[in-house]
């Protein structure tokens, strides 16, 4: 269910685009902010929570997820180069699962790893805050990748829809409408963080069992449906 050639092509396509610059810029911004906050405020758990929860998990992880998830397949479908993968005796789910693996890997490397570093910079992992947010970022990376990979498979405006979800639904509507938080990858990931670092001031609106089930459902359903869509993807030509 994994093809190394598909993975190599996806990695190179993802990291070779100009859009990939954001992948490098956002983690650098996070670490620069963390260093500045540590120098100005000192080690403070509440501030660490704000930076890691309010900026990193709420904004940076979904943005990186959008770039990696949609970028792993969307551009190939848009420009038609996907034909070189489809015209091969390769099972479609293999193509999707390989691309999902790459998207998850890229999202984790560019979000979970810098969040762990930022957590240590901010308060030296006091109360396990750095580890808790890194765990949340890992879980969110998987769900976001599956969700945005599916978007990249079904829509040509995947990046726009992804940004709308990441920035408007997760960040804006989630903060104004309490019910919307139940359907938020960010809140599901926070439930994991809360469990990892109890008493560290991390709170989620969703209980851990529900969060774990929803994370699994979104990931599996997203990958399954993307594979199904790829199987019946039509390339209409230029007529």
């Amino acid at each position: 269910m994994y093809d190394p050639t598909v993975a190599r092509l996806t990695y190179r396509a993802l990291l070779g685009r100009r859009r990939a610059l954001i992948l490098f810029v956002l983690p650098v911004v996070l670490i620069v902010i963390s260093v500045a906050v540590r120098l100005l405020v000192g080690a403070d758990d509440a501030v660490a929570n704000q930076v890691l929860g309010g900026f990193a998990l709420a904004t940076m992880v979904p943005l990186i997820g959008v770039i990696a998830g949609t970028g792993a397949i969307g551009p190939e479908i848009d420009d038609g180069s996907i034909v070189y993968l489809l015209a091969k005796p390769l099972k479609r789910p293999t193509i999707i699962l390989t691309k999902l693996t790459v998207a998850v890997g890229v999202t984790m490397v560019f979000s979970a790893v810098p969040m762990l570093i930022a957590g240590f910079v901010l308060n030296g992992n006091s109360q396990q805050i750095a580890v808790a947010y890194a765990v949340a970022a890992v879980a969110a990376s998987v769900a976001y990748s599956a969700l945005f990979l599916l978007l990249g498979t079904v829509s040509r405006q995947a990046v726009v829809f992804g940004l709308v979800y990441a920035l408007i639904w997760e960040a804006l509507i989630g903060s104004l409408v309490p019910g919307a938080r139940t359907l938020s990858v960010q809140q599901w990931a926070l439930a994991l963080a809360e469990k990892t670092a109890p008493g560290a001031g991390i709170t989620s609106d969703v209980g851990l069992p529900v969060a774990a089930v929803l994370l699994a459902v979104v990931t599996v359903a997203g990958a399954w449906y993307a594979g199904r869509k790829l199987r019946t993807l039509t390339l209409a030509g230029e007529e």
Binding site: D79, S81, V83, Y84, A87, K88, P89, R92, R231, L235
Partner: protein, 305 residues
């Protein structure tokens, strides 16, 4: 022997019918799929390549359905019309990746052989993004040949190629056909098809207009009534002289154009007689231009022939 069978296939997009009840068999040798732009050629090739489902009917490869059957790609090589490739790869990396995706036991050797076949070894280490249109076409060709397929589908392969590259590709396709492969290419240019394919399938407005030996179809095209717009120093005298000749079926004096509209039924004789008649009557020919030479009109004629 590998044969693609298109059996009573129609394909529509919303209210638009792109392919209308087409039935044809594509067997070994080189077949040209000829038709004007928008005739449904790409739609047909996409269905033969398994990238589009027929709305009705079936497309099969030696009896096996092509749509949603990735195993057919062991036999089929596809050269798409679209330009997009993995531009960040070198030509060699691109062909090698295609060989690996086919799961070939010695992908490196298969890629080397395919690049040699299209004579692209000299530029194989350059990025695809630096290639000319013709070079891209050849590398696409190498990627389609890398697994030694028995069927080769090419959508408008000569678009944008210079004459030398065109000749090289034609030679290569001729060779593939002579080896017993089923080679199908689409084109809207009559001369391309004439030079390469002995067998042609003509599609017009989504319908299968003609099928068979190129020479027979070419004769149909040549023998059809031709219309000409003629201006001369004395249109009335020329009209009177022309209508007396059996090569001409009708003449109309077009006042707005200040010209004659001539319908010729014997193409060869008319082209011979017109200058002779004009000279004999001391008339100067100012304009002689075919008024229905667009490919569309030729195809339309074929549909009704």
């Amino acid at each position: 022997m590998t044969t693609i069978r298109i059996d009573h296939v129609s394909r529509w997009f919303g209210n638009v019918v792109a392919v209308n009840d087409v039935t044809m068999d594509i067997g070994p040798g080189v077949t040209g799929l000829l038709g004007p732009n928008g005739a449904g050629k790409s739609t047909l090739i996409n269905m033969m390549g398994g990238f589009l489902a027929p709305s009705t009917g079936s497309v099969t490869l030696d009896g096996a359905a092509i749509w949603r059957n990735e195993q057919v790609y062991r036999e089929i090589g596809v050269v798409p019309e679209r330009e997009a490739m993995y531009d960040f790869l070198t030509g060699r990396e691109f062909v090698l990746a295609n060989a690996e995706l086919h799961g070939l036991p010695d992908a490196g050797e298969a890629a080397r052989r395919a690049l040699a076949t299209v004579e692209m070894e000299y530029a194989q280490d350059r990025k695809v993004s630096t290639y000319s249109k013709g070079m891209r076409q050849r590398v696409k060709m190498a990627s389609a040949l890398v697994h030694d397929p028995s069927v080769l589908l090419l959508d408008e392969p000569f678009n944008g190629m210079d004459p030398r590259q065109r000749m090289q590709l034609m030679e290569l396709l001729r060779r593939m056909g002579a080896e017993g492969r089923t080679v199908l290419f689409s084109s809207h240019i009559l001369e391309e098809v004439e030079q390469l394919a002995s067998h042609i399938e003509v599609v017009v407005a989504g319908r299968h207009a003609a099928s068979g030996d190129f020479r027979r179809i070419r004769r149909l095209m040549t023998d059809r009534p031709h219309r000409y717009l003629v201006r001369s120093s004395d249109d009335r005298a020329l009209a009177a002289a022309l209508i007396a000749d059996p090569s001409t079926a009708g003449i109309e004096l077009d006042w707005s154009e200040r010209a004659l509209r001539v319908q010729a039924i014997d193409f060869a004789r008319f082209t011979e007689q017109l200058p002779r008649i004009a000279r004999e009557h001391g008339i100067r020919l100012l304009t002689v231009s075919p008024s229905d030479e667009s490919l569309e009109s030729v195809f339309s004629y074929l549909v009704t022939a």
